[in-house]
């Protein structure tokens, strides 16, 4: 081996880890194509895109930061209310609403991250759950501000970029959500492959060693948690804007629980898991609910039990293993 060979090999290896895989191009091509090919499904697809973003946010916390959260709806709902109130106050530009929701949720995430840092896994689950329950009760009580159980009334959202009015069939909303999802995905992808992203993985992998190589463990977790809260807030704002309604339901516990299910279905730690999970979950919910409206949760439950008992890989007959390899998941 000549002297230059290991350098070139190492450089190539590090490039390869972050390189776009063919399946990723296919994934996004199919996603873009769905806008053109399925115009009748845009309302459902819009919802899926929003939950995909929300699940991407949880993947940052859980798959990369290693923090199990049962209260991620707190940041989703907070962003939704922020965008809704801004619109109520007459600032109806959707992008302005997104920015406000992002800032508000990131601020909430930053502050609450210090609570989440305390203690072990179980404590963290309880803390995340408590934060979301407190927020839910606050929104319930502060009727003058949030409308309480009736939700925020009278939201009107202005046209996107001053040109495209939100339509009832969801064409504009879906395009809007998809572009936001894609842009935020690109940012997340860059960040998880950056030195910062690798240090977050290191903290999840072994916090003791992370500190022993000089990483401020707490700050890493604060960073990734705040970033995830920002993402969740934007997802909440997208839902608020495209439905022009915000209710307590956005902060409800079942949101956080469903979200965790989506991520578990799709797999954690490779960014696509949440998005695939959101698609499977929502599609199943929609499809099974058509057949048996009362029992769709039974089928979701059954899928989960099978996932756990048999294993995700074997259920999908290795296709997901291949997909993951193709998407470049590590470990």
């Amino acid at each position: 081996m000549s002297a230059a060979a290991p350098h070139a090999a190492a450089r190539a290896a590090l490039r390869e880890v972050a390189r776009w895989k063919p399946a990723e191009y296919a994934f996004w091509a199919a996603t873009a194509a769905s806008w053109f090919l399925l115009p009748g499904q845009h309302l459902l697809l819009n919802e899926i895109a929003i939950f995909a973003l929300f699940a991407l946010s949880l993947d940052l916390v859980l798959g990369f930061g290693g923090i199990v959260s049962l209260g991620h709806a707190a940041y989703f709902g907070f962003g939704g209310y922020a965008a809704g109130m801004l619109a109520q106050a007459g600032y109806t530009d959707p992008l302005l609403g997104l920015a406000a929701a992002a800032l508000a949720s990131a601020a909430l995430g930053f502050v609450t991250s210090f609570l989440v840092l305390r203690g072990s896994d179980l404590t963290r689950i309880m803390v995340t759950l408590s934060v979301s329950l407190v927020l839910f009760e606050l929104a319930n009580r502060l009727t003058w501000l949030t409308g309480g159980a009736d939700g925020l009334q009278g939201i009107t959202i202005g046209p996107l970029l001053g040109r495209f009015d939100f339509d009832l069939a969801g064409h504009v909303a879906y395009a809007y959500s998809l572009v936001v999802l894609f842009v935020l995905f690109l940012a997340a992808r860059r960040i998880v492959h950056s030195p910062f992203g690798w240090t977050v993985r290191a903290v999840r992998g072994n916090a003791l060693r992370a500190a022993a190589i000089g990483l401020a463990v707490d700050l890493r977790l604060v960073g990734i948690y705040t970033m995830a809260a920002l993402y969740a807030g934007i997802a909440g704002a997208l839902l608020a804007q495209s439905t022009q309604f915000v209710s307590l339901d956005m902060l409800a516990f079942h949101r956080s629980a469903d979200l965790l299910l989506m991520l578990v279905i799709g797999g954690v730690g490779y960014l696509y898991g949440g998005m695939i999970g959101a698609l499977v979950f929502k599609a199943m919910q929609n499809w099974v609910a058509d057949i048996t409206p009362e029992y769709w949760q039974f089928w979701i439950g059954l899928l989960l039990v099978l996932l756990v008992v048999i294993g995700r890989e074997r259920i999908f007959a290795g296709s997901l293993v291949l997909a993951r390899r193709a998407f470049g998941r590590r470990g």
Partner: protein, 250 residues
């Protein structure tokens, strides 16, 4: 001139148990200093106190003349005090290359960069390759760390510490549990440590200790029994009694 590392009257009590009892120790620049002692003598406790995982009940730790007793573990690393672990503490899902890469990034202050790709800076890659080569890890640099043979993981323990740019290195039993066939690799790795780094080696493997150390301290029941050159320690009757006599080394 200041010692590279100086420990002054360091003590640590766990309830009634005194794990570290008034230990004082001077590590000169470029030292190859070994700390030996029977099981339960408090060697790992001492490393935990030095690296900041535990807080001492009394005493001070000076790194190059500066008191670091109150600093957090990561702040001590920034000042050049780095340790390895007796039981591997690695990132099982990463590769040796990314493991060393992130440590080098940290040392160069690039660990908060969130927009550039890891390794997009050539100097980082160059340094990673140099470190991996020194510890004979180039051939496995893209394997998953958790799947590496135990001996390779022990080498990565040391390589990762070197990637942090230590001035003082605390080696906690680098040869612990390494099968015979891989021992030479560890010995070579320890011998390949940069000369300017001051090393405190904790080890049970007497062969390694006497090959490596210029000076030896013997720790018994949390206290320093004696310090001296390898020849002095080997000749000391008390040491033979409490340590070498009791524990026949294989």
């Amino acid at each position: 001139m200041n010692a590279a590392l100086e420990i002054v009257g360091l003590s640590r009590r766990f309830g009634g148990l005194v794990a570290t009892n008034d230990v004082s120790l001077r590590l000169e620049r470029g030292a190859r200093h070994a700390l030996i002692g029977p099981n339960g003598a408090g060697k790992t406790t001492l490393i935990n106190l030095l690296s900041g995982v535990l807080a001492p009940s009394a005493g001070r730790i000076l790194l190059d003349g500066t008191d670091i007793t109150a600093l957090r573990p990561d702040a001590r690393v920034h000042r050049g005090l780095v340790r390895t672990f007796q039981i591997n503490q690695l990132f099982a899902d990463l590769t040796p290359l990314t493991t060393v890469g992130l440590a080098v990034s940290r040392r160069l202050g690039l660990d908060r960069q969130f927009w550039r790709r890891l390794g997009s800076k050539g100097e980082i890659v160059d340094e990673c390759v140099a470190i991996l080569e020194r510890f004979d890890l180039l051939g496995v640099m893209n394997e998953r760390v958790g799947a590496l043979p135990y001996g390779r993981q022990r080498l990565l323990e040391i390589a990762l510490a070197i990637a942090c740019g230590p001035r003082v290195l605390l080696l906690d039993e680098p040869a612990a549990g390494v099968p015979e066939g891989e021992r030479e690799g560890i010995l070579a790795g320890v011998a390949a440590l940069p000369v300017e780094v001051s090393v405190l080696l904790i080890e049970h493997d007497m062969d390694l200790v006497f090959r490596f150390a210029q000076r030896i301290s013997v720790l018994v029941n949390g206290s320093v029994l004696m310090q001296g050159s390898p020849a002095e320690v080997a000749a000391d009757a008390r040491v033979r009694e409490v340590y070498l006599g009791e524990e026949v080394h294989g």
